[in-house]
Symmetry: C2
Subunit: 334 residues, 2 copies
């Protein structure tokens, strides 16, 4: 880290299909100075997340598109190095939304103090942060999982999926099945307590799911979309619910995929597909932190982190995430 300069990652061009290294540009600027009511944070960890791919398109969505030739943003944690804001002092560990840079200038209202003694700072970007809350809200509020039910999670070795499966077990699911993209990930899912897991490269997803959940599923937590969603609809028992969290299978395809072709089953089986954004569930944070924090403290819930070092390697970390090279939460140590 260079204390005299601030390095940040800009969006150099809007990707068509898969982003590449050319999508990004490393830019060196001055370290900012805080104005009244502001703090400067030296980031220690930043998050790369699949939703960021959507923001690289010039399409109005729930989050505004990233601007060209300006720094990207996203979840980060760091240490306050300069403060002109009441209540913040140098040395405070904080969570905020200006990742993709070494130093962030923020209004105090956009910064949240976290306790690094309670849990490592990086977990506030993962299992104790947006990632964990996404898993918790999607499984329990959107899909309304009930004890005894069978749950299927796609992308189950990812940051969200691995927490979904574990919360399902801790909340009394009868059977939890996960899909992932490599034998090592499948192995990891079994170690995390999934009752069954499969590598989706090993055959049609519908057949793999039928073997893993021969009596069908009640809840599907979708991180993948496409063939996985079609398979889940096919396997659902009456009154099944799918929480749609992500469709990473189609983020980089210029033409959307045709699946699922079996939506008519939604009627006969009275199924519900429901898309959600974690932003609508921040009110759950008060019950989420003690419950999930308790499981972490008691060693009942594990989490994986894949850490890439250096802000200059953030683009590579993001591309690796889209290719599924991470186990658990993908982070950049700035």
């Amino acid at each position: 880290m260079n204390s005299a300069a601030n390095r940040e990652i800009h969006l150099a061009e809007r990707p068509q299909g898969w982003p590449t290294e050319d999508t990004f540009r490393l830019v060196t600027t001055d370290v900012p100075t805080p104005g009244p009511g502001q703090v400067v944070v030296r980031n220690t960890f930043m998050s790369v997340d699949p939703y960021m791919r959507g923001r690289m398109n010039d399409v109005e969505s729930y989050a505004p598109p990233y601007a060209l030739d300006a720094p990207l943003d996203g979840g980060a944690v760091g240490e306050v190095v300069a403060s002109k804001a009441d209540g913040f002092a140098s040395g405070d560990t904080v969570l905020h939304g200006l990742g993709w840079r070494e130093y962030a200038l923020l209004d105090a209202a956009a910064v949240q103090k976290v306790d690094p003694a309670l849990a490592p700072a990086s977990t506030y970007l993962g299992v104790l942060g947006m990632t964990g809350l996404t898993a918790y809200a999607g499984l329990l509020e959107v899909a309304k999982m009930q004890p005894g039910e069978t749950v299927f999670v796609s992308g189950a070795a990812g940051a969200v999926g691995s927490v979904v499966g574990q919360i399902a077990k801790l909340r009394g699911a009868g059977r939890v099945v996960g899909s992932a993209g490599s034998p090592a990930k499948v192995e990891r899912l079994r170690a995390l307590g999934f009752d069954a897991a499969f590598d989706y490269h090993d055959g049609p997803v519908g057949e793999l799911l039928r073997s893993a959940a021969p009596d069908g599923i009640d809840v599907y937590f979708d991180n993948v979309g496409s063939e996985h969603l079609e398979a889940a609809i096919g396997a659902m028992r009456p009154n099944g619910r799918a929480a749609l969290c992500g469709m990473i299978a189609q983020y980089n395809t210029p033409e959307p995929p045709a699946a699922p072709r079996n939506l008519a089953m939604l009627i006969g089986k009275r199924l519900t597909l429901r898309g959600f954004l974690v932003a609508d569930y921040w009110h759950l944070i008060e019950q989420f932190v003690p419950e999930v924090g308790g499981w972490l403290r008691d060693g009942k819930l594990s989490y994986d982190e894949t850490i890439v070092d250096g802000i200059e390697n953030a683009p590579a970390a993001f591309l690796g995430l889209l290719r599924g090279e991470n186990l658990g939460k993908m982070l950049v140590r700035v």
Copy 2:
């Protein structure tokens, strides 16, 4: 009607794709005699409904498949002509599930008396029966329409769709849009009080819907599926809900259609797609009959019937229904 013989329609073969006249066989049997606790009903009207197409396939679904070389069944009203059951006398008008025949033999528990003085007997198969309850439950319970919202109904000139649109207006929808398959049907929708209506043959459904609801829609009542569903997802505002009632566009295609390709929008817009069966909503009948019966009595709600005469023409009526030749409820006067 021949009083010495009972004519009924059997399933002669399972259709591949579109059914034809060869799918059916007219069979003459004896008029049944009631045993203890039974009644014999001379049917006056029978219903033909899109869901019957699914029961012609040899596939377990929410309703069992029709048996080959046996009479079809479905909603019917008629007059008791012989009774060995307490509480039923010759001349009573009753509703039951053994249509597709001139005379039906039923246990008393499978028969429900209706009041032909309150409303014409045929309405108990339509607006005051399963059809009307489907519209009511789907719009208000499944899609949870709120006053001021914009509602889109496909197949809007059909028995269910025309009632959905009118209930939406009566319950305070801000704007109601319907699609139908002919200029005459579109005209009829305008007369029924729809704010906008279009013939889906006039262009891509997505474009027609954007013109009819330029500010988007909140609720979609789906009778059609396929391109209509894709268009509705595209037009939905945040937190939109679709009640999936039927997908008549694909009942007769051996290969399911590929649409909709835009399911990823369910996430960013937080949309819900929910399939339903009216059978799960019979408990609403107590509030449905007085509310909808009141609107009928006060002339606030209109209904259309397309009536075909003669049990021998029931197959033609059913085929005409699948081709959309009906305005409102398709009935056979037996």
